[in-house]
């Protein structure tokens, strides 16, 4: 009898031991249960790109880890440049009032930093579409010598040695293990969850607000003259087009560098017009400062001699000066101040933001 009792006890201990081994990766703090998070798809919007979160299920904990990494200047070579240095929330996650952005050691980028929002609907990243998945996008700024200038090995080593990260990795992935895949997946959870769909335009579409007469006229002009590329509701059709910008001082040929096809010369990704008021200056190199100047480019300043100029732009966009103003006012209705003020996307307490703004 006794030996049976003993064997039961031993079995229980043994099975418990196995359970413990299985739970080892949870650091013994109970079962690993991150809270699922749902990407809200605004009414009337298309489905997001299918493979964005397919192998990276969104969770509150993954989002929080991603946010921490996004605001961490320590990922850069000199500890000063975080993702957020060039992607500032108050500028819809573009660099405010900068044609080009600043990298480590007084370097400058060669392209204008785009705003980061509605990325889950984006198939290709970069002005030339060279990056085919949101998860691998951060590898570029991390390693570019004129951005964060760091090696991937050093980034992993620094995150590993920062003990404050441990509970974040455990919460998001079930263990303390730090590797590039986890860092990239967490960052994608944060950046891919940033949604901008609450501008005055959106409120008008939902019947919660009305356009002024000026804005309404601008909206009608927009639908006639601009919507061919800046398609609603994302205000981009995610295509690459030659919009009559000249070859710049960096000899940036755009899409052609990716496809090697000469027909793609000077084609760049059509940017969303959402939050355009905050993401100035404009174009791939930030060479046009204001929205009226951009409209003027399409009215009269395009390089019409370029045989690759987009067919929709041949002959220019005809607008009177009054119409130009009306269109500008419509574009202002695409500004989403709830995005720029949403605490969900802001650094949490305990994240020390690098004081880099005075360098700018």
């Amino acid at each position: 009898m006794k030996s049976i009792t003993a064997s039961i006890i031993i079995s229980v201990i043994f099975i418990f031991g196995i359970a413990l081994t299985g739970a080892e990766k949870n650091e013994g703090k109970g079962p690993f249960k991150p809270r699922p998070m749902k990407l809200e798809i605004p009414k009337g919007w298309p489905q997001p790109e299918k493979n964005v979160f397919d192998n990276n299920p969104l969770t509150v904990e993954g989002f929080m880890l991603g946010k921490r990494l996004f605001y961490d200047g320590n990922l850069s070579k000199d500890g000063q440049v975080s993702c957020a240095s060039c992607h500032q929330q108050f500028a819809a996650f573009a660099t405010f009032d900068h044609d080009l952005s600043h990298g480590v050691a007084n370097t400058l980028t060669t392209r204008n930093a785009p705003g980061l929002f509605n990325l889950a609907w984006k198939k290709e990243m970069h002005w030339d579409g060279g990056v085919n998945h949101l998860e691998v996008q951060p590898l570029n700024p991390m390693t570019a010598p004129n951005e964060m200038g760091e090696t991937l090995d050093n980034i992993v080593a620094k995150v590993k040695s920062d003990t404050a990260y441990r509970r974040f990795f455990v919460a998001a992935f079930g263990s303390q293990k730090v590797n590039m895949q986890r860092i990239l997946k967490a960052l994608a959870q944060f950046t891919g969850s940033i949604v901008s769909a609450n501008s005055k335009y959106d409120k008008v579409m939902r019947g919660e607000a009305v356009f002024t007469a000026y804005e309404l006229k601008g909206y009608e002009l927009f639908k006639q003259k601009c919507a061919g590329c800046h398609r609603e509701p994302l205000f981009t059709d995610h295509s690459f087009r030659n919009n009559g910008m000249p070859l710049n001082r960096f000899k940036d040929i755009g899409r052609q560098a990716i496809t090697l096809n000469p027909a793609d010369s000077l084609k760049f990704l059509v940017p969303s017009l959402r939050n355009a008021q905050l993401t100035f200056p404009y174009m791939h190199d930030g060479s046009i400062y204001s929205i009226p100047q951009v409209i003027e480019h399409y009215r009269s300043k395009m390089n019409t001699a370029d045989p690759n100029l987009d067919p929709l732009l041949r002959g220019g966009i005809h607008l009177s000066l009054l119409e130009k103003n009306q269109l500008t006012y419509f574009i202002y209705t695409l500004t989403d101040s709830s995005l720029t003020k949403d605490k969900k996307y802001a650094p949490d307490n305990g994240i020390i933001m690098q004081q880099t703004f005075d360098n700018h």
């Binding site: 006794k2 030996s3 003993a6 064997s7 031993i10 079995s11 043994f14 099975i15 196995i18 493979n51 192998n55 990276n56 970069h126 060279g130 990056v131 085919n132 998945h133 949101l134 998860e135 691998v136 590898l139 570029n140 390693t143 991937l152 090995d153 992993v156 590797n179 590039m180 895949q181 990239l184 997946k185 994608a188 560098a257 990716i258 090697l260």
Partner: protein, 252 residues
């Protein structure tokens, strides 16, 4: 409670141990049985040039055009193994800096006549975000600015190179349509897989054939190949010729 005799005590301890072993065996038996149904094919890659094992940096080699060179890096991906009707979707990053380059594949027992692998990384994995293990971008085989893997990397130096510091840099990549440099490397070789045993196939990788194979490349003409396109594709056409079977062991 009566005091236990020495013999009874020993018996109880023994019983407990036996119980423990029994539970252990019971718990592991399904895994044991499963493992026992398969055999192992071990593929070992030996990297050579001029008939000698490749030593990075220190040794000098020559190609079929009499050009001398040293090798600083030689790495390539091998994966998506096809053996009979089985596809094994695992990757190995062969690296001349390592002592040994081998992969163990679990196979159904039986006689096989051919096998093949993909030199490079399949297109799905080039478009599916962050990968881990051999495909971790930290392995320095990943293009960030134009997403995709470098399938084959050769770096070195040669007095015949006209590039900066006489360097040779071949980063062979590209996975889309006509730019695809991945190649399926095929072997005809009878081998047998036996339940619970290891069959080892030694593959020779002869770097001499990268210069002079289906296509010919002189270091003086093509010291650099850093982008996708026709040069990368012509170099990739020499991949199959690099490989030959040196030895097939009996299952042990």
């Amino acid at each position: 409670m009566r005091k236990l005799k020495q013999g009874e005590r020993k018996f109880q301890v023994m019983m407990r141990r036996t119980n423990l072993y029994l539970i252990f065996i019971l718990l592991l038996s399904p895994a044991w049985g499963w493992a026992q149904n398969e055999g192992t094919l071990r593929l070992v890659f030996s990297l050579e040039a001029n008939g000698k094992p490749i030593q990075l940096r220190d040794s000098s080699y020559h190609n079929g055009f009499g050009e001398n060179y040293t090798i600083n890096k030689l790495k390539f991906y091998a994966g998506q193994w096809i053996l009979g009707d089985q596809l094994i979707d695992e990757y190995l990053l062969v690296n001349a800096a390592l002592e040994e380059n081998k992969i163990d594949l679990s196979l159904q027992p039986g006689k096989y006549n051919q096998f093949s692998f993909l030199l490079g990384v399949d297109s799905i994995r080039n478009v599916s975000g962050a990968q881990d293990g051999p495909l971790d971008p930290m392995n320095d085989m990943f293009w960030t600015w134009n997403t995709g893997y470098i399938m084959f990397k050769l770096e070195g130096n040669s007095p015949q190179s006209t590039a900066d510091l006489n360097r040779i840099e071949w980063h062979i990549g590209g996975f889309k349509g006509p730019l695809n440099v991945t190649r399926r490397i095929r072997f005809d070789a009878p081998f047998e897989i036996v339940k619970g045993a290891i069959t080892e196939i030694q593959l020779k990788v002869d770097l001499d054939k990268i210069w002079k194979g289906k296509n010919e490349f002189k270091i003086a003409n093509d010291p650099m190949c850093m982008v996708m396109g026709s040069l990368a594709n012509k170099i990739a056409d020499n991949f199959q010729g690099l490989f030959s079977i040196r030895n097939v062991s009996v299952p042990k």
